[in-house]
Structure formats: structure tokens, C-alpha cells
Symmetry: C2
Subunit: 331 residues, 2 copies
């Protein structure tokens, strides 16, 4: 019985670690087979599901609190890019047999902190034993006024391409983690890059501005050039992307100066979880102003073109840059 | 490139195998980051999420079509027990690296058949590489008229306890699969037991009768006695369960005759995916009639008691039967 006391079964695990996260009435205290969710009237629900798996999307020895944050935040990032406000999520947790109560307490603390920070309650889910590594599957639900979800499709010729924050930090953080790039040039900025890989920052503060002004948007998860390609394909247009306008952190800029391979990681590396949006020219000033008002930096990095095709990435003199690969495939 | 052609990446996999399953407008052809779901007005959404993992909930070498069915049906079973009609689902698929196009085609065919049989469209999801074994995480969405979700809580003293179909077949099928019981006595009925383990049969046809008449309900997934215990705990009541009224298939009855350990598997084994419902006496006739009208057998197996506590399992003479364990813990 000592082992049982140290590592509870499914019902005790739910009661001890997850029930405190589920104070929304729809969750029924996690005591039922399902949540009873009354949708907000006049709203379209935005449904997204992102899985993350140990050894694929995070390192098995990452802190539990960081794993929890990443699993939730990659979903919240999708909601933000669609212009939605979060309303709830369901958690699927496939746990290896060697989990510990301390790990689980940290994991729950990571979820609790983000629920509070981003205003999203736990509504339900499932916990099973994983035969392989830890796998998390979150379904996040957001809401927009009917017809208000911002799609990948919808970008039009002449739209300005904006991106939030800085690009490439997480990809460089991953390379530092893997030891495939020398981080000396980044100095103390290394910590920033490593943190950007570990902790996506969903741009929910920007969701309203995206919803009001963008023709099309998505979050940059597979790499800037690859994800722009998805938007262009869905919209039936092309785009010019001006590489030297892509916003970089000081640490990323330092690495590019020391190792040109860093630029490829920045443009195609993924895990940015910034928002890429196509904004019509007559809305650009309002979009920039509202982004500024909520404290999210946005930078114009290119223009939508009428001719369909993959992104044209150009340097400061307008010369085409050819990338060996356009995106990072988590699959 | 030969390997790429034989085993496509994530985007090709979605386009080839999953997009044909997603013809609901809310799914946006799986070309966006999220589904745009307009909830039916005046309805509460019933949200459930059940994960299944290779080596835990199914055998890794089970047919792909059967794995797909089990993953979807265990979720549909929850919707049925809550009195809900299915409206859509999201699929999370963590795939080991050695999947083949033939496996994936079979898996998609399993989903397609059930989508058609049970009237539920694919709305979205995610596909990732699994570092460990195959893991499936489905979020199913159902709908009930506002306030109509049937809960675990709500059973009252005097309610009749009903169960659909037959109990114990799947648990015995699993024991046959594991070789822990001699199936000779079941004769040709062995195939029935094995099939019940492989293919849950969600009782969606019974959902409306449950919604209209039951005080409380759940689906029997962890074992009849254990799941009844969950209902009693949530409802703050007790119950008498008459073991000799529990409906058995001919094959299960034959095994009980040959091996008394079969009875424990039947009462506590799990994977039945039948509905257990507490129905007030003045609704019992209507419940039985409506179940009969939709072709789902229901059997009265006990009575809710006022005194809170675990289920009292009694034999034909009213003597208490003590079970070594009350439920099967998938965790």
C-alpha cells in the first residue's frame, strides 16, 4: 500500500491535482463523464487541438511546469491567431508509469498559473497510462462573434504582412539546447533564447486587433516562411517577405552576425508562436495602434501579391534568398 | 524521395486520409488552425475526451479499423449515457514512426464508417509523431436541450437501476485474448466475446430515452460495480444490485457455468460500454417501452437505496456477494 499512497490511481490523481483546476460550473468538478458547456449566445466556437509529445515537442527532462505551459500555450496561440478569446479547455494526459507526485504537483501548478494568466478554465479530460512517453493532448475552445473567426484564407493582394514580437528565438533556443550552434555571441541573451523555446507566449492580447483588422492570420509554429506559405496557399495569393525587416531579438541578431546558418533557423525554424497577419492597407494604422495599446510589438515584414505561389523571400536589395527548407516539421 | 512517397509527411497525411472525413463546413476542410463551430441555439454542449493507448486500451496489433472504432466509440458511449446527440469530434493522433499508408487507409476507413453509422463529423485535430506507442485522443461534442444533460449525480432512493445490452462480454473477451480463462465452454460464442472487446457499441439509440426518463446515468467502462459506485457517490445514495438479474450473453453464461471466476470479470471487468441508468418508478414503463422501440434491450438489475454507500451486490437469495475488486482501472 506504500506505493499506492505515494502514487495514487487515476481517480485520486484527478481529485488531488486536477479538480482544483476545474472551478468552472461546466466542469461539474470533474465528477462526471462529460462537461456541460453552455455556449455563449451569438458566438462561433473556435475549436483547436494540439498534441505535444516527449522527445518530439519537448525534452522529457524539461521541468513539469514548463511542459504544462507549452501544452496549453500552443493551443492558446491558435486561439489568439484566430481572433478568439479563450473559454475553456479539455486535457488529455497520457502519463508514463514512473510519474511522481512531485512532478504532478508541478505540472498542475503550471496549468493553474496559465489558467489564471490567460483566463481559461479546465472543463474536463482524461488521464491514461502511456505505454510510451508522456503525451499531452489539449482541446482548447475559444469564442468569436458569429462570422468573426480570422482564417488562413482571406489574404488579398496589397495587404500588409505583419508579425508580432520577434522571430527565430525559439528555433535558436532549440539549437542551443541541441548544441548545433555556438551561442557565445549571444552572451547573456542565451537565456532568453532558451526560455523562448521552453515557454511559448500566446499573443491573446492581440486577438481583438487581429479580429477587427486582419484579412487572414495564423500563428507561426512550423516556421515563418512555411506558415506564410500555408496562408498564401489557402488564400490563393503570393507574397514578398523582406528578410531584413523580420524582427529579431538582440540575442538572435548577435547569433546571425556570428553564424549565417542562424538566419535559416530564424526564417524556417518554428516554435515562435507569434501571429502572422495580413492586414489591408487602410487598416494598418489602426492595427498598429491597437497592438501598441495592448503592448504587443508588431512589425510589417512584407506584402501580399496577386500572383499565387510560395513566399518570395528577399534581402535588403530585393534579391531573392533561397532557403534550403521552408519549415520545421514536428511530425 | 522514395520513402517520402511511401510515407507522406503530416500535411500530405492529413490531405490524403483525414480531409475526406471532414466534410462538415465547420471543419474548413482541415485547412485552418481551428474549426469554426456554430453551436446549435438553445442547446448545452456535452464535451467528453477519452484517450486510448496501444498496450493499455488495445493491442498494438489490433486491426487499424478496430482501433479507429474503439477510439471513437468510447467517446460516443459517453455522449449516449449523457442523453446527448453527437455533433462533431476532434482527433488527436500520435503516430509511431513505422506507420504505413495501408494502416492509415484502414484507420481512416474505420473512422469513416463510424462517422456515417453514428452521424458525427470530423471537425479538426492534430497529428504528431509518437515517441512511444500509438495514442489516440478524441474530443467528442454532443448536444442536449439546455439543462438536459443526464448526470452521474441525481439518482434517488427508489429509482430502478437499468442496464442496456449484456454485461461482461468485453471483459471475458479480453481474458480470452490474454489466455487467462478457458473459452471451451463458450464454443462458437467465443467470437462474440472477442468482438465485444474489440468493438464497443455505443448506445446512441438509447440516448433520447435516457434523457427523457433517467435521473442519473453513465456508461459502464470501468466495470459495472465500480461505475455504479461512481453514480452512488455522486448522488449521495446507495444501491442493491441483484447479480442474477445482470443480463448475460449465452457465451458469458456458458463461461460462468464452467469457471466461477468469470462472474467477477463480468461484474467488475469493464469495457462494456453499456448504459447504466437510474429511472424513477413512474417512468420505468415508458423507459422500457422507448428502449424497446429503438431496439435496445434494457434490464432492471437493482434499486437505489437512501443510505449512502458502495453497491450491495446480492445473489438470488439476497445474500451479499463480496467482490475482490470492484472495477478495472485502465490507468
Amino acid at each position: 500500500m506504500a506505493e499506492d499512497a505515494a502514487r495514487p490511481g487515476e481517480f485520486d490523481l484527478i481529485a488531488r491535482y486536477l479538480r482544483p483546476l476545474a472551478d468552472d460550473p461546466a466542469a461539474l468538478n470533474l465528477t462526471d463523464d462529460a462537461a456541460a458547456f453552455v455556449p455563449p449566445p451569438g458566438q462561433t466556437l473556435v475549436l483547436t487541438k494540439d498534441m505535444v509529445a516527449a522527445g518530439v515537442h519537448f525534452f522529457p527532462d524539461d521541468p513539469a511546469v514548463s511542459i504544462a505551459r507549452k501544452a496549453l500555450r500552443v493551443n492558446l496561440s491558435d486561439l489568439a491567431a484566430k481572433g478568439a478569446r479563450p473559454v475553456g479547455y479539455l486535457l488529455g494526459l497520457a502519463l508514463p508509469g514512473d510519474w511522481t507526485p512531485a512532478w504532478m504537483a508541478d505540472f498542475a501548478a503550471g496549468l493553474a498559473g496559465d489558467q489564471s494568466a490567460y483566463g481559461i478554465p479546465l472543463l474536463g479530460g482524461d488521464t491514461v497510462r502511456a505505454a510510451g512517453g508522456l503525451t499531452l493532448s489539449i482541446t482548447a475552445i475559444g469564442a468569436v462573434p458569429d462570422g468573426g473567426m480570422v482564417r488562413r484564407a482571406g489574404a488579398r493582394a496589397g495587404d500588409a504582412l505583419y508579425v508580432s514580437g520577434t522571430i527565430g528565438d525559439a528555433a535558436l533556443g532549440l539549437r542551443l539546447r541541441l548544441g548545433t550552434i555556438d551561442g557565445t555571441a549571444a552572451g547573456e541573451g542565451k537565456a532568453h533564447l532558451l526560455d523562448r523555446y521552453l515557454h511559448p507566449r500566446p499573443r491573446l492580447a492581440l486577438a481583438e486587433a487581429v479580429r477587427l483588422h486582419a484579412h487572414a492570420a495564423l500563428d507561426v509554429s512550423d516556421g515563418l516562411v512555411g506558415d506564410l506559405g500555408h496562408m498564401l496557399k489557402a488564400s490563393g495569393v503570393g507574397a514578398r517577405l523582406e528578410a531584413d525587416r523580420v524582427p529579431l531579438s538582440d540575442a538572435a541578431r548577435a547569433l546571425v552576425g556570428a553564424d549565417p546558418s542562424a538566419l535559416v533557423s530564424i526564417l524556417s525554424g518554428g516554435d515562435d508562436y507569434e501571429i502572422l497577419a495580413a492586414v489591408p492597407p487602410d487598416r494598418a494604422a489602426a492595427f498598429e495602434a491597437e497592438a501598441g495599446a495592448v503592448g504587443v510589438p508588431v512589425t510589417r515584414i512584407g506584402t501580399i501579391l496577386a500572383e499565387p505561389g510560395p513566399p518570395q523571400v528577399v534581402d535588403g536589395e530585393g534579391r531573392i534568398i533561397h532557403l534550403a527548407r521552408a519549415s520545421h516539421d514536428h511530425f
